[in-house]
């Protein structure tokens, strides 16, 4: 499993402040839901593709991967809406989902995690008043992003180990068999990560 994380680059989109990019993303979401017509959705999608592929010079595969991940939902939404309401509503809904998912992918691909974390910390700054330390929330976000692929990799290892010893690796039972060893493995990992944070001077007291 790979995440559409940061794709290094020096385009204007890459250099734009993370806060501004997140704000545009939010505004786009509001617009698409406030004006739910297919020309707006199609325009938004075209705009996102223009920004992502031309302005930010992202490889097509980065966006294609994200589109593939939601393809089933896009098609399902279109079919259901086309049957229940009409084809144009279906088109608007499907394009809207695609535009938003790709817009989010463009933001993550062009923004460093540290910059995103800094925005999160700034947004959480008022929580200081109730005793929450924003830097810790930022660290939690960064850790989550770092460990998603690692946990996925561990899940794969466990699945392989089970398959190598003749277990089925698909279906609900396989999932249940995966959960316990994965949980044990992740807890052990968490313990060492805690030590590593201490060793590297994190303020964990």
């Amino acid at each position: 499993m790979t995440l559409a994380l940061h794709v290094p680059g020096a385009s204007p989109v890459h250099r734009a402040p993370a806060g501004a990019k997140l704000l545009v993303l939010v505004a786009l979401g509001v617009l698409l839901f406030a004006v739910p017509t297919w020309p707006v959705a199609a325009g938004a999608l075209a705009g996102v593709l223009l920004v992502g592929l031309w302005a930010a010079r992202l490889p097509v595969r980065v966006l294609a991967r994200q589109a593939r991940a939601v393809a089933v939902w896009v098609v399902a939404l279109f079919v259901v809406h086309a049957l229940v309401t009409d084809v144009l509503t279906g088109l608007a809904t499907a394009l809207r989902l695609l535009a938003l998912v790709l817009a989010a992918a463009v933001v993550t691909a062009t923004t460093r995690v540290t910059a995103l974390v800094a925005v999160v910390e700034r947004l959480c700054a008022p929580l200081r008043l109730v005793g929450v330390r924003p830097a810790r929330i930022g660290l939690a976000v960064a850790l989550a992003l770092r460990f998603i692929p690692l946990v996925a990799e561990r899940a794969d290892r466990i699945r392989e180990a089970q398959a190598a010893r003749g277990a089925r690796v698909r279906g609900p039972r396989a999932l249940v068999r995966l959960v316990v060893p994965l949980l044990v493995s992740v807890l052990q990992l968490a313990h060492t990560v805690g030590e590593a944070l201490d060793a590297r001077g994190a303020d964990t007291a």
Binding site: V193, E195, R200
Partner: protein, 243 residues
């Protein structure tokens, strides 16, 4: 959880004192993992060998206060690890066996900068020091790459880089070559040999110990041999042959 002694103001560290273990023992629940350790570690390069479960990893963790001994005291350059843990960890870098557990940020450069951020180093200087360390360890071209896409050897280099960028006075490495192939193990060995800091290396890799100043053999939670590498390794082999 053991109650920590009240923190006193940190005395000035005295690097000539090295690491002192005074009557140190450590117990996990019912299990005694280390006992009766009285050592003074002042040499530049010290190796620690021992069988699985001999207490080596706990020993390593004592040296930078990740583990506080349940009896006795550990002093690093005169600072007690029980009362001055943060100062001690600033002075003693720690490289873990599994780099995956120690890399905490998604991309390479961000991870190297993490420790500096904790030290409050300003952003400009941070970027400069990160770039310098990445260049020194051949990771410059990977600066913006996701850490999880690096090879095992590169990950271990990244883990070491993340520690060295903090410029610790001493470095403890816990089995740094165990997960590596021969080529990468040799790279780490060369890197360790070239470090100006005092190092303590816990290892099963006896080749790594060539050129060390002192080797401790740990067995059953005690130091059973403490010598130059050649006689210590001979003693270790003899000990293992009897099993």
């Amino acid at each position: 959880m053991r109650r920590r002694r009240a923190a006193a103001p940190a005395p000035d560290p005295d690097p000539t004192r090295g690491v002192e273990l005074l009557g140190v023992g450590h117990v996990y629940g019912e299990r005694t993992v280390l006992r009766d350790l009285d050592l003074r570690l002042t040499e530049h390069r010290i190796g620690v060998v021992g069988a699985n479960g001999s207490g080596k990893s706990t020993f390593a963790r004592l040296l930078n206060g990740l583990v506080v001994p349940t009896s006795g005291r550990v002093l690093v350059d005169g600072l007690d690890t029980a009362t001055h843990g943060r100062e001690v960890r600033r002075r003693v870098g720690f490289v873990f066996q599994d780099p995956d557990a120690q890399i905490v940020h998604p991309t390479v450069a961000e991870d190297v900068g993490y420790g500096l951020e904790n030290q409050g180093v300003p952003a400009d200087e941070r970027a400069e020091r990160v770039a310098e360390v990445l260049a020194r360890y051949g990771l410059a071209e990977h600066a913006d790459h996701p850490a999880h896409l690096l090879s095992g050897g590169q990950k271990q280099l990244l883990a070491v880089a993340g520690v060295l960028v903090m410029r610790p006075a001493r470095i403890v490495l816990d089995e740094p070559t165990t997960l590596l192939d021969l080529v990468n193990a040799r790279r780490i060995a060369d890197l360790v040999a070239g470090l100006e800091q005092a190092v303590v290396v816990v290892t099963h890799d006896l080749d790594l110990l060539a050129g060390f100043d002192r080797v401790l053999v740990v067995d059953g939670g005690r130091v059973v041999a403490d010598d130059r590498p050649a006689p210590a390794v001979t003693a270790y082999r003899a000990l293992m042959a009897d099993r």
